[in-house]
Symmetry: C2
């Protein structure tokens, strides 16, 4: 990892705990609107709609849209499915913007701060720039650069996302480490020649099972959290 000058971070699940945050947002949404649902199941269902709606963009069923807008579309579909129709526009907007108020994992703020002092820390999320900037402000996350899916107009794990980001940073892939809690993200980066760091986040989906609890491939580094990663780099 000595040659690595920049670190690309996946954000949802890797840096922030989206699930407990969205459950909390759901409960508040329910209290304000009088809608009584199982908010844990709702959060899981909302998250489950994320890969297929990105696929709709990938296959051209939907035009290029940023994640803020995709989350709004899937929220509408989910509310309709639950028979919920009478919700004021500002509540739908506020709930969707809940994806900008996700709490960092306990180690993320200090871990990122230490890593940022030594390397260029880059948010490389499928979230759009304004969304990730909102998360960074909300959670005090030390990203030197925020990129996301917009420069390439592709979603991870499409290779364009990683390669465009490296090009913008003017670094060849071996000088960049991709840091993520998901095997698909790291496998895509590894195939393109990036260094890879797997972060264990076994509780990303609460008590639900996940295929990403452990690494399923050989990565350059496997760590338990971002503080552990900082220690591995000696920072």
């Amino acid at each position: 990892m000595d040659r690595v000058k920049a670190l690309f971070f996946d954000v949802f699940g890797t840096v922030v705990d989206w699930r407990s945050s969205i459950v909390e947002e759901g409960r508040r949404f329910g209290e304000r609107t009088g809608i009584d649902l199982d908010w844990e199941a709702f959060a899981d269902h909302w998250r489950a709609l994320y890969p297929p709606v990105m696929d709709r963009v990938r296959t051209g069923v939907l035009p290029w849209m940023v994640l803020d807008d995709l989350q709004r579309i899937t929220l509408e579909e989910l509310l309709t499915e639950h028979g919920v129709t009478e919700v004021p526009e500002e509540e739908r907007y506020h709930f969707t913007m809940g994806w900008r108020r996700l709490h960092p994992w306990p180690d993320s703020v200090e871990g990122l701060r230490r890593l940022s002092a030594e390397r260029t820390t880059v948010a490389l999320s499928n979230g759009n720039l304004a969304l990730i900037e909102g998360l960074a402000q909300f959670g005090d996350l030390s990203f030197d650069v925020i990129l996301g899916a917009e420069p390439a107009r592709h979603y991870k794990p499409d290779p364009e996302v990683y390669l465009t980001a490296a090009q913008v940073l003017r670094l060849p892939p071996p000088q960049v480490g991709m840091v993520a809690a998901h095997n698909s993200d790291l496998q895509a980066a590894k195939e393109l020649g990036f260094k890879t760091v797997f972060v264990r986040r076994p509780n990303e989906f609460g008590k639900n099972p996940t295929a990403d609890a452990e690494p399923t491939d050989d990565y350059d580094l496997v760590v338990d959290d971002l503080m552990g990663f900082a220690r591995e780099l000696g920072v």
Copy 2:
């Protein structure tokens, strides 16, 4: 300015003192290579080649190229013009990368830090992202977001630069303030509905006269430096 959520900053001249820094880089380049030139005149000449080389991109004489590469082209032209041909590649590279080692004006670091605590601070420079990120690391500049000319693949004052940046931030122009020491930059932003802040930098070109010593239009705010701007916003 109360409605303004994000501040777009011009960087060269507005935040950093490119001239004294490039003069210094030139002197060191001269010491290492044994080339004896008037480095003040050289810096001014290099800077003077910047608008026409951007025009070559605008008019399609050159393909889209980022500023790192344009500066290298104009450096080669300038060295040739001075009859300098025997310079090792690594020295040419290092001198060009001198544009990533520009010193901030004395008020910039603390001014940006204060402004960044209250608003989203965005670097909106004609420099490419890697160049501005280098400057931010070198000078400890608190930019929350670095954009530059790349998202629009246009150079300021083309309207695409400002409008693409606002779209990425998901903000309408009236909620964004353009902060610059140059009238052309602010006039372009003002025409598109952005708020405008003129920063006086009378010594940007050393003792050379500049048309930008004073505002030539009505802007929302005119300040003497970034600390003065922070004070105007009460931060």
